[in-house]
Amino acid sequence: MKVKSPLEVYKFLPQTNCGECGFDTCMSFAAHIIDRSVKPENCPPLIKDAEKDPKIKKKLDQLIELTSPEVAEVVVGKGDMAIKIGGEDVIHRHEMTYFNPTAFFYDVWDTMSDKELEERCSKVIEFKKFYVGKFLTLDGFAVRCTSNDPETYRSVVKKVAGYGKPMILVSLNPDCMRAALEEVSEEKPLIYAATESNWRDFLKLALEFKVPVTLRAKDLDLLKSLAVTFKNAGVEEIVLDPVTEPLGEGLKGTYERVINLRRTAIQGEDKDIAFPIMVTPIAAWLMEGDEVEKGYWETVLGSLFVVKYADVMIFRSLEPYSLLPLVTLRFNIYTDPRTPVQVEPGLRPIADPDEDSPVFITTNFALTYYTVESDLTSANIKSWLLVLNTEGLGVEVSVAGGQFTAGKVKELMEETKIEGKVKHKILVIPGLAARLQGAIEDETGWTVKVGPMDSGRIKGWLETNWPPK
């Protein structure tokens, strides 16, 4: 967005501090516009006044323009299932955050048997992977027209639409695309793709059915020409596909094109190409090799462009070895680096502990927590793990900063009723929290032992320290 300070936003607001937006002051609302948790449209008085007064309307439009993301945001699908792509503001995630995670679409095609189609679609909608307190899922279907027959395509697209997920319609044939759109344009699918040879027909389809459209060209002058032409004709929802080449110099060129597009959009402020980028790792299936090699390479391409700027992707492999790393990586890269990821405080039983198992304590900083938790789990250490709310800070920092205190440890032990779960009264604290040993003993009446600096060494530590003598 063009503005960086809440002050710049504030001057466009009613400045009455009425609170209707849910914030106490207009200044606070302005701050949230800057961090993109709200939009100008979320200030009801401003919207109401703009309806009455053209001057205010003009101001509102200005504010919307000034605060809209550098890369256009495009919506695919409708209702609850709709997914936003693009809308990015920065080149590196530490400069603020990335916003809309890369959308993952999985391919089906219209010459599959009904049974195959059903199986594949079910796999896509059913996939879930538990991670940091939630289930990660896949986004939608890319329905390819391999029959080159409008009626076949129409009926298969209709079937796939029945699953309710967003869709990309893949066909370069305008007649096939028209047939499909007649059936499902209400679902707001993304159409793929307008090229140098079919662009006029696809432009017509995009305007007529009001659906987002992908422009495909390897030559970036041509890609930009297509974008300018479409925009000029009134198409707002545009996605750019600079053509994914799966290997060799072609892949190197793809990397260059994708980076140049995003950098020129954000840093070069070239609005003509400031649209979401499509990458198609499925192109890996054009290579020689067996299923695993292709699936692996597809995952490599996907990972590369999850990190580097793809906003939407089309994949083939539904094997767990492809899906697990990709959904995890996407979550990691799109996590907001401004807020430490936290986990629920509380008590976690590890490996079915009993009343003789040791009791450990760690922080609710996700990274610390998951490290400790996986160290204990992977070494199969029967234990109780207390997770202290340190407001998402790690051990060292929270001990120094006063979020990790004897008092809070006592509260947590009471809340979780750990005393009733074990026979002993021994708490093992992280090596980095050693200096709280005495304080926690005084506060809780438990014996406090100082564990190793690194939870990876808990196993060795237990060998000499547990069971206690």
Binding site: V300, V307, T371
Partner: protein, 458 residues
Amino acid sequence: MGKMTIDQFFELLKKYDIEVLEGVTIEGDLEIEVEEGAAADQSTLAYLYTVVQEVQNFLYFANMAMGHLANVSNLLGMPMPFGVQAPQVPQVPQVPQPPAAVEEVAVPEIKLPEELIKAKFEPFKVEYPGKIQEVVLGATKKDGGTRGDVVVLGGEKSLPFYLFDTPQPNLPAVAIDVFDRKPALAKAVREHYEDVLEDPADWAKKAVKKFGADLITLHLISTDPLLEDTPANEAVKVLEDVLQAVKVPIIIGGSGNKEKDPEVLERAAEVAEGERIMLASATLDMDWERIAKAAKDHGHVVLSWTQMDINNQKTLNRYLLKRAQVRPEDIVMDPTTAALGYGLDYAFTNMERIRISGLRGDSDLAFPMSSGTTNAWGAREAWMKDSPIENDSDWGPRELRGPIWEIVTGLTLSLAGVDLFMMMHPGAVAVLKEIMGTLGGKISGSVADPGDWIFMEG
């Protein structure tokens, strides 16, 4: 009159976690003065600081911070307590005015243009003033060593594989881990080394000849007082064996024991005199000075290892450079690798920030980076048979999950600027080398038409 220097002010901002101050330039010796007087007493300041803290999430730049303080003080009806040129409130910085919105008229009939509107794409160029230090590992005969070849790390002048910005003189290298005692290994890894686990020299040979390692990292973990507690003198004999067995450059690691490692690395530095090995590692909480000295005395390289904190990395590097007088061409950094799903986002962003700082000219951070990519095997997705979570979709065979976990962890960090990967699974090594070689312009190949996936049946 209370005076506050700009440094102190930044310190204050830092205290409130406002750390994104990159790109700020301060001209001259700016001092912020706190005037004596009714409004500017300590409690007012304390209040202002609280406000600063509250608005911290949008204070990206110091000049903005100044704007806020000015504004807040004005709202409170106080004189501006800082004796700097404050922006006049309520006047705000001018923002570019967008053109008036074009009226949209509903077009009943769609008129299509006959021709494409021709446009030229002008890529935005990025140039950095700095350059990452080049570090040579290993020494051949002419330099007093016995290595067959050396490995050169670093030398970048732009982000990884941005060959369209500047050429990248050295592509990242891959070292394979070897241990001086049987370590706990995931099954998918162990099966590739089953026949050599007892013999580090054979292990190293296999890693180089069969799996294409560019370097060998020998971990002397048996020196750990909690394990065999092998004396340093004895442990380094294995290093001699490995130096004999392979011709690639060697990295030597201790057990991670803070007391013992300096001695182990010292002995290693002695017996490998002339070979230009890398001592892994010097850390802030061990006797880094002693390790640095060992490297200096015997012509080796030091790995400067910190725990995912750019400031600590800078501090340790400065200690090595300024206090221990290590030459810049003898330092490699390990800013810590966390596995995919287990902190990779922190590791990635930490490394990316370090690399960008180096490229922007921060010579304390302009060193090649190393990654303990083998850490990826700590992720349960890499080694566990099935998901422990009841409602998870099937995880499939772990033999196929583990290697890709290592690949994706490495690939992600290669994009943050890692120059040296320490890895274990031969398949993961091969795939990571393939993709890095491709992005680096060393591997050719193509498919007939990259658009064929649109039509392919099955």
